[in-house]
């Protein structure tokens, strides 16, 4: 009798849950652990996905083109160093509190105080709530990229945090719960396992019925596990970190491929302080000898989709100052030999150190390609594997920095300033982004002009000049413009990652769940 009762309850419970599951749509995706829920600490891809769905920002990048549009802000004005944003009326946080200029000021101050994530974007920025719906930011100097940086300032519900916090800035609170205006609210969060988010029906822009009702963002799934889950119909979008051959296998089995493009590139950075690479002709010889076409083949996933597109210069296609997409770089061994002849050093006296980051196995393949290319010129090189932590320490001194370092770098706001200033301005030598130790007055001047320009035309001119100058200096070999590729089931439509006219051009924003459509 007891067994009968037990089985009955199991069947009944299963049936009730099955019918509940039928009624709602669930999107399942994965990312690398851990998921950081506190918006002031968000820095990597998983964090960005959480941030863009749980919180909102004053502006968003335009879809399918350059520039930004108001989001929580209706409009803004600027005189270069002061930006005044007029906030949208009637926006509520998930707590029910209404959003005001005080929340914007609090969010900025909280980010600056915690000093984590991308808070460096707001160093030296002051904010004042002029009235409930007007907030003014004051910068130390004119910065045309400031509006773009607003996409990294998620607005936090000050009243909610103040009422529920257990530490000064509510770190404990916001590491486990949401306090935003976003279209999705956090139902549960385990930073190593899964974050469950549910659609918030009172979102100020409304959320389409077709958008997923529940989202389960899992962390740290192994490639074999993801492959099996997708094949079994138990997973919807795989992370971009799957090996290309796994993505291809999934595609061959009917998975669609989603792409996100436009904010970064893959670089081979040459240490310009270390012989023989302190001679520009030696650097040019290496840049000419690199086999760009084979590099692109190495990252191809299918015949039509690749994890990158050919590089056209120092600035990724689509950004201010970029060359047109047809001006692709190519290997030129004759030019390389001529440049080598003009080099003041004899390469025979040197053994070029080519490093790769241990956590990114793909880079070893590029190191081998580079070694093979250089060998064609009779240049000796050796490959060195460096864990990220060790690399970040080594590049802090030019003597310890390898001759060549391989890096993926992204513009965290989508603006070229956040991509290029940190890499090439002479005030930022010896960071992980700038192992070139480049110090060039013209480069500095172009970077400063790009930051200070009051118009898009002015920025275009400054960055075009910078692009030409960087190519001439050949401090970096520009491998390819990066494209993130995600294998996905056909249960979900993601226009922002399949239709270029809907793309945001900012890492992670394509994963705005409110803009997705579930077909089952």
């Amino acid at each position: 009798m007891k067994l009968k009762y037990l089985l009955g309850s199991v069947v009944a419970a299963s049936a009730s849950f099955a019918s509940a599951a039928f009624a709602e749509t669930v999107l399942r995706l994965d990312e690398v652990a851990v998921g950081e829920l506190d918006p002031a600490k968000a820095s990597d891809y998983a964090d960005s996905i959480l941030m863009f769905n749980v919180y909102d920002t004053l502006v968003l990048p335009n879809q399918g083109g350059p520039g930004h549009s108001g989001h929580l802000a209706e409009s803004w004005t600027s005189d270069g160093a002061t930006f005044t944003f007029n906030l949208r009326d009637g926006v509520n946080f998930q707590s029910g509190n209404s959003m005001s200029a005080k929340d914007v000021v609090y969010s900025l101050e909280r980010s600056q105080a915690l000093g984590s994530g991308l808070s460096y974007l707001f160093a030296g920025v002051g904010a004042e709530a002029i009235d409930d719906s007007t907030v003014q930011f004051t910068l130390g100097a004119p910065n045309a990229a400031f509006v773009a940086s607003m996409v990294r300032l998620p607005i936090v519900d000050m009243a909610y945090v103040e009422a529920n916090k257990s530490d000064e800035w509510g770190e404990s609170l916001l590491s486990g719960t949401s306090a935003g205006t976003g279209a999705y609210a956090v139902a549960s969060h385990n930073p190593q396992e899964v974050t469950v988010m549910t659609k918030w029906d009172d979102y100020f822009l409304g959320v389409a019925d077709a958008a997923p009702d529940t989202v389960r963002l899992r962390y740290g799934l192994e490639a074999a596990t993801v492959r099996t889950l997708i094949a079994q119909g138990e997973h919807d979008i795989a992370s971009q970190w799957l090996p290309p051959e796994v993505i291809k296998a999934l595609s061959d089995n009917g998975a669609q491929l989603l792409t996100e493009t436009g904010t970064g590139a893959f670089y081979f950075k040459m240490n310009t302080t270390k012989a023989p690479l302190d001679d520009v002709n030696c650097r040019r010889a290496l840049a000419s000898a690199f086999d760009y076409a084979t590099a692109i083949q190495m990252i191809a996933i299918t015949d039509s989709v690749s994890a990158g597109s050919p590089s056209t210069g120092a600035i990724p296609v689509g950004m201010f100052g970029a060359n047109s997409a047809d001006m692709v770089q190519a290997q030129d061994m004759d030019a390389a030999k001529a440049q080598m002849a003009a080099c003041s050093y004899d390469f025979a006296d040197y053994d070029i150190e080519v490093s790769w980051i241990a956590e990114v196995p793909l880079e070893e393949r590029f190191a081998l390609l580079m070694q093979s290319n250089f060998a064609q010129l009779g240049i000796k090189s050796y490959i060195k594997k460096l864990p990220w932590a060790l690399f970040a320490e080594q590049v802090s001194s030019p003597e310890n920095t390898p001759h060549i370092s391989q890096l993926f770098v992204n513009a965290v706001t989508g603006d070229p300033d956040t991509l290029l200033y940190g890499m090439y301005h002479s005030s930022n030598p010896g960071t992980w982004q700038s192992p070139e130790y480049l110090s060039d007055a013209q480069v500095d001047s172009f970077l400063e002009a790009g930051r200070a320009a009051g118009s898009e035309a002015g920025r275009q001119e400054a960055y075009a000049g910078l692009n030409a100058r960087l190519m001439d200096l050949a401090a970096t070999i520009y491998g390819f413009d990066r494209q993130s590729v995600f294998a996905a089931s056909n249960r979900v439509k993601v226009p922002a990652m399949t239709d270029p006219s809907k793309a945001f051009g900012l890492d992670g924003l394509g994963f705005s769940f409110r803009l997705m459509e579930m077909t089952e």
Binding site: F17, Y120, P387
Partner: protein, 342 residues
Amino acid sequence: MSQLFGILVRRIGISVVVLIGVSMLIFAIARIIPGDPARIALGPNATAEQIAKLRGEMHLDENIVIQYGFFIKDLVSGDLGTSLYTNRPVTLDIAQFLPATLELVFLAGIIMVGLGLPLGILAARFRNKWPDHLVRALALLTVSAPSFVWAVILMLLFAYYLPLFPIAGRLSDIYDIERVTGFLTVDTLIAGNFAAFFDVWHHLILPAVALALSGIGQAARLTRANMVETYEKPYIEMAQAYGFFPHRIARLYAFKPSLIPSLTIIGLDFAAMLGNAFLVEAVFAWPGLSRYGVNVILRKDLNAIMGTVLIIALTFLIVNIIVDLFIAVLNPRIRHSTRVQS
């Protein structure tokens, strides 16, 4: 009883010393691993000022002895600090991740003992006959492949090609169970949700078997070898000469003395599973402490490394104390020698 109590007190005393030693060793080693933990924690875009601030907060600029002093001071008050990996208190992380691993390791241990010992006895009982050959072949097969290989094979066989078991996680998405103890086998019962309870077991089986397989082989081989050796003892020959039934000889005279060395190894294996569970947890997306431990080591998350290693060391010591007590119960000579020494 007093002899057992004496053994217990001695083992606890030794364990405390071992724990202190482990804490000192790991504290030093964690600081020798290349890389600045503050830089790693704050990410590639952190400024020099941010890094310097965090280093100050973590006392990383102090002498290592002073740093250890801060650690012990916090540890005494139950504070293991904040994880730079999850940005949460380490104690909270451990409380969340440890039950998942313990649940997995306990079941794997039960499977290991439940299958390994009987298979070893069977092989010894039918020495050089087909059951013996079969068990030895199976044992060799399970021992020769690491757990993560078994994890992938089992997942492909029983979750992909034959979809009998779930692929990942501890519980199906449709269930929302309040975490009271963190042990889902218990929490589902507390919630009175039997469907979820069965679902938890359904999720547990494949990873637990994958984790247990190499231990099963080892336990079977060891038990067989010990029993074979015991069968050659004069008192077994005497029992056989008296005409006792074979199963009675195996149960009463051969098994008990053979169990002692097996128990020691099983105890070590059981505790070692805590560390070995990492790859199984990775394959089955099991949110456990072993996976957490590896991730925090890769990120040089000093506080979390210390917390995780201490917890694993503590569990290891507890299991070995229990094994020692078992052995003392089984083997009067050990109790006797302890009494003489004391």
